[in-house]
Amino acid sequence: MSEMHDLAAFYAIGALEGGERTAFETHLDNCATCRAEVAELSPGVEMLTLAIAEPAPAELRARVDAAVDRIAGPNPVGLEAPVIPIGSTAALWRVAAGVAAAAALVLAVAYTSTAGDAQFGSDVAAVLAATDATVVQVAGSDVGNARFVYSNELGRGVFSGSSIPSLAGGRTYQLWLIDEDGPSSLGLFAPDDDGGSAVVVEGDVRRGAVLGVTNEPEGGSDQPTGPVLLAVDL
């Protein structure tokens, strides 16, 4: 059984994974018959979902709201920032402002911190200390020297850069996480006077995701539109 059409029911029930799933989704773009079949089977999947409902723990709502607050809430901060040294790693500087204007477009979590913010410093230290901390580094890229450290256990990552070239007026850098569902914005950043920048992101970084940086119009974009300056497999 090698026909794409035969996979529609598996796709509808969520049993296709990885490359096969992506290939089928591409096929769906071009096949009205399969789209119709998937749509027809969809209420059946609804039934399977509602059949299994169980009262969620009372504190779940607050946890979800807190996590969404961190994504949806803009936390603008000034440009002046002292260096926050973290152990032997590259120093991290505060993220430039510009998040507020793009808050509607920033779909994943980024928050900024103020100088000497104990929370920021300790969040970063916690990521670096996590047993599953993973570091991805790129030197001499179009965005300067970039480093991304993340821990899925903690659900947090820190993107930092140094020697980041300034952009022309009206442009900003935008950080993306590209996973099997497509690109999600992680926020905007711009180098401070020393060419540094940092973004703290929350959520998990699934295997197979790609971290990307593009050059976007000021205020950021819904989807990557500008030149890709960095793309790193996580």
Partner: protein, 194 residues
């Protein structure tokens, strides 16, 4: 619109989930709160069915609900219903977690665990108003259809794994799942009209 709350009249609980997701995609927290009201128990219940442990299920549910916020703009009505989209997203998150837990357990103990076949859905805990409708619907499936549908959805097996587990060709599994889902779809539509 930067994360602003819209007025209540734009998002109310009589709205279909699909319409609420459209508002969520615009950053409407009130709409998101209504989405939570409608789906949280289903997301948690499905996560629990797959990962079993209550704390892990709550973690999965939290991640899925935050993903609904983050990815509402990716929902495509022409590809199926909002609840099916959320259900499949939940299944995937829960299965990923089970696999990574099993993988680290294997690494730690050098023990290759054979995944236990999931129990059939013996008891479904839903609102009493819906319970009999859902039980009737599941009862309408043949045993073979129910088995394949449960392995693929609640069991989190890929299509090939279902075929292997049942020792039948992939085409047979396809037919059972497709026919099972078709029957459930019919029941769902009848139920929605009541």
């Amino acid at each position: 619109m930067a994360g602003s709350l819209t007025t209540v009249s734009r998002a109310d609980s009589s709205h279909a989930l699909e319409d609420l997701l459209e508002l969520v995609a615009d950053g409407d927290r009130a709409a998101f709160a209504l989405v939570y009201d409608k789906v949280a128990d289903m997301v948690y219940g499905l996560a629990r069915r797959v990962v079993v442990d209550r704390d892990l299920a709550a973690d999965v549910a939290q991640e899925v609900l935050v993903d609904v916020w983050r990815k509402a703009h990716m929902f495509d009505r022409t590809r199926g219903t909002a609840l099916a989209w959320i259900g499949v997203m939940t299944r995937r998150r829960a299965v990923d977690l089970v696999r990574s837990v099993e993988a680290s357990r294997r690494r730690d103990t050098n023990h290759t665990a054979v995944p236990e076949p999931p129990d059939p859905v013996a008891e479904m805990i839903v609102e009493s108003a819906e319970r009999s409708a859902v039980q009737r619907a599941m009862g309408q499936l043949s045993d073979l259809q129910r088995e394949s549908v449960e392995l693929a959805f609640y069991g989190g097996l890929t299509h090939r794994e279902v075929a292997e587990r049942l020792a039948v060709p992939l085409g047979t599994v396809k037919t059972r799942i497709r026919d099972g889902l078709t029957r459930l779809s019919g029941a769902m539509e009848a139920f929605a009209r009541e």
